[in-house]
């Protein structure tokens, strides 16, 4: 991208060149993905720490668009420990959802591709798969069964032409190895609907999605996600589209259910209040990178990255009088044309002289607390 203007306009020749190159790259990656009979040894791997359910390591997920390659996820690493909730926060477009879709292998292909890095999924008994190399056939057995996802838009995430019961039955029947009868599947569905707090479960079983309210639909989505007692639940902004009272109920529900089936939750949101309530660990993302990660206590008590500090400051606090809510100045850099220095530098109010150097690495503040900022280089590494 040598000759690109800063105003974002591209010449026709540029666009053609980009699409040709994109097609070449994506075709190559697609061909690799579409191979038949991939031996298990190729995607079998071992966890760095057997206490983790998922380990993301240096994951790069790019979108090859006609205006250039978008580095949606650009080298993130974090772990989801077994039985814990990890909250992923960041503003819109910072790569939270793309991270979760990478884990599910549900990226919009062929444009969206995992380019490098690995996602290790702990299957128990010392077995682990590298999701980035797992073929589609095997993924289908894991999705909905081992990992499941709650989407952010309950209004459109259910198929409008099928009854609620049918849609939940489908997951159970699909991942059922015992050969359950239709009645026992129905029984399980009703039980799930009751578990997520739907009183009229028999009635809802026969209803269509449009007959339910947003909160009810989100409960159905949760019931569907929990149908096979998955080990990992990805909740992608599950309460964003709901009003506050329903939000609290849904969060309560998720917390109780998590304790009941003891699974790990990857909780994606931009709502810090929700994170404080739900998460054990917090990962803060900015422009496709992890800028800070740590336990919830560490992040909320000692936010270290200027971005995290800004986020905390821009959150309204009850009982604190403020004329105007703080807002982080500037805007997110253009995802196609990322700078080669710290992505946050142009918006940062705490810059030090070293900030114009290359992107800062992760600095360890404590055993669990890491931050990617030059301000901590001196105290920790003595450079």
């Amino acid at each position: 991208m040598a000759k690109k203007n800063n105003d974002g306009y591209l010449s026709a020749a540029e666009t053609r060149r980009i699409s040709r190159q994109n097609r070449k790259t994506t075709n190559e990656l697609e061909k690799k993905r579409k191979r038949k009979n991939v031996p298990e040894s190729e995607y079998l791997t071992t966890m760095k720490d057997p206490g983790n359910a998922v380990e993301f390591e240096d994951l790069h997920t790019y979108f090859f668009t006609d205006v250039g390659t978008v580095h949606s996820v650009d080298g993130i690493s974090f772990d989801v420990p077994l039985g814990k909730t990890v909250g992923v926060v960041g503003e819109s477009g910072c790569g939270k959802s793309v991270t979760s879709l990478s884990l599910m292998q549900l990226l919009q292909r062929p444009q969206g591709q995992i380019v490098s890095g690995s996602i290790r999924l702990n299957l128990g008994n010392g077995k682990a798969y590298d999701i980035t190399k797992t073929p589609e056939k095997v993924m289908q057995k894991l999705r909905g069964n081992f990992i499941s996802m709650i989407f952010q838009e309950p209004m459109t995430a259910l198929n409008p032409v099928f009854r609620i019961g049918e849609q939940i039955n489908e997951v159970i029947a699909l991942h059922d190895d015992e050969g359950k009868s239709d009645e026992s599947i129905k029984e399980r569905t009703i039980e799930l609907l009751e578990m997520v707090g739907i009183a009229n479960s028999e009635g809802v079983y026969k209803m269509y999605p449009h007959e339910l309210s947003g909160g009810m639909r989100q409960r159905v989505m949760i019931a569907m996600a929990l149908a096979c007692s998955p080990k990992i639940i990805i909740a992608d902004e599950p309460t964003t589209a709901l009003d506050v009272t329903i939000q609290a109920q849904i969060l309560d529900l998720l917390r109780n259910l998590k304790d009941k089936i003891n699974s790990s939750i990857m909780f994606i949101t931009h709502d810090l209040g929700v994170i404080a309530e739900m998460a054990d660990y917090v990962v803060v993302m900015y422009a496709g990178r992890v800028v800070e990660k740590g336990t919830a206590l560490e992040i909320f008590a000692h936010p270290s990255h200027p971005y995290t500090i800004g986020l905390m400051a821009s959150k309204p606090v009850v009982g604190k009088k403020a004329e105007k809510l703080y807002s982080i100045p500037g805007k997110v850099p253009n995802p196609v044309n990322m700078p080669d220095y710290c992505y946050f530098k142009d918006r940062c109010e705490m810059c030090v002289s070293r900030c114009s150097g290359e992107y800062p690495g992760m600095i360890k503040l404590s055993d669990t607390h890491y931050v990617s900022c030059y301000r901590y280089y001196d105290e920790k590494e003595g450079k």
């Binding site: 599910m104 549900l106 589609e136 993924m139 289908q140 057995k141 894991l142 999705r143 909905g144 069964n145 499941s148 996802m149 989407f151 838009e153 459109t156 995430a157 259910l158 198929n159 409008p160 032409v161 099928f162 009854r163 489908e170 997951v171 699909l174 991942h175 269509y208 449009h210 989505m221 569907m224």
Partner: protein, 328 residues
């Protein structure tokens, strides 16, 4: 639902009344008048009455001496009794002539509609699932060619290749030269053989729009959230497309198919004329050019009824495929 249907039928009758009024008025105002032609011919004969005298006599004879509104009312009165009168141009009862010709067009329409659906919908789905691939581009280009080709050009091309050069089919007509000497089964095959080219023309020209419509709708559905949900459940790709996505694509398709019901009976005027096939399109074209009011009125009224019925059927089918519009 029953209440809805009854309401719609009653409404349809009102619509039909005004539609026929417009058709009748237009037919009466047409510049070609069958009666005028006859009167002119008769007055040309040596020793005959004058043109005006003939006109008055003939108008009274054909019941056309009234104004448009009284004429229309008496036409409706007769229609309600099932009386459509005799065709002026063909000089047989309208219903008899219609019955003689419509079934041929219906067979042609039904066969070509069957092939149209059987080819266009799977192609559209295929093109959508493989968006921007070589398959998609090939299908789209072929479909576009189908839409853009004019009937007369494509039909002439077919005739040139398959009738003139290869000699597989006859150039035009419905029956071959030795038709009368064939056994009943042979006669059937002879007719079928003559219908091959017209049907191919009809199918090729109609596939394009339906295929593109299917493709667009399928793409829209495939990009929706519930398809991602279906994939997140772990469903195999085939089930995602043919169960979850296709059911949703059916919703807009049903309206199109319901709306094409009158097309089954209306005949294909240009194709039938090009191949000289005595179907309803061909017949009604000649009736209309000849100013045959009873036949044209019957034909157009029949089509209006079918159009209204087609709309009602597609509304009912809508409710069948889309639970959101179900009327309780």
């Amino acid at each position: 639902m029953t209440k809805f249907i009854i309401k719609r039928i009653l409404l349809s009758i009102v619509i039909l009344f005004f539609v026929t009024l417009i058709i009748y008025a237009v037919m009466r105002c047409l510049p070609t008048s069958y009666i005028e032609n006859i009167a002119r011919q008769k007055s040309m004969q040596p020793g005959s009455k004058s043109f005006e005298e003939w006109m008055t006599q003939l108008e009274a004879m054909y019941n056309m001496d009234k104004g448009i509104i009284p004429g229309f009312i008496s036409w409706w009165g007769q229609m309600l009794q099932g009386e459509f009168g005799d065709s002026w141009y063909y000089t047989v009862p309208v219903i008899e002539k219609f019955n003689d010709t419509v079934w041929l067009s219906f067979v042609m329409g039904a066969v070509s509609m069957f092939f149209e659906l059987a080819i266009a919908i799977p192609l559209g789905v295929l093109a959508a699932t493989k968006q921007y691939s070589r398959t998609d581009y090939t299908i789209t280009v072929v479909a576009l060619a189908g839409i853009s080709l004019p009937t007369f050009f494509f039909a002439s091309l077919m005739k040139l290749v398959f009738a003139v050069k290869l000699g597989w089919f006859d150039l035009f007509g419905l029956v071959g030269r030795i038709h009368d000497q064939l056994s009943p089964w042979g006669q059937f095959l002879d007719k079928a053989n003559h219908l091959v080219m017209p049907i191919i023309v009809l199918v090729v020209l109609s596939i394009g729009s339906l295929m593109r419509y299917t493709r667009t709708n399928m793409l829209e559905v495939l990009n929706s959230d519930y398809i991602r949900t279906a994939r997140a459940k772990g469903l195999p790709e085939g089930k995602v497309i043919y169960h979850h996505a296709f059911r949703n694509t059916l919703i807009p398709l049903v309206t199109i198919i319901g709306g094409s019901l009158p097309g089954l009976f209306s005949g294909a005027l240009i194709t039938e004329t090009l191949f000289s096939i005595p179907g309803i399109g061909f017949t009604s074209y000649h009736a209309m050019v000849g100013g045959d009011i009873p036949f044209s009125m019957f034909y157009l009224t029949f089509l209006s009824i079918l159009t209204l019925a087609g709309n009602l059927i597609s509304d009912i089918l809508y409710a069948v495929v889309d639970p959101r519009v179900r009327i309780s």
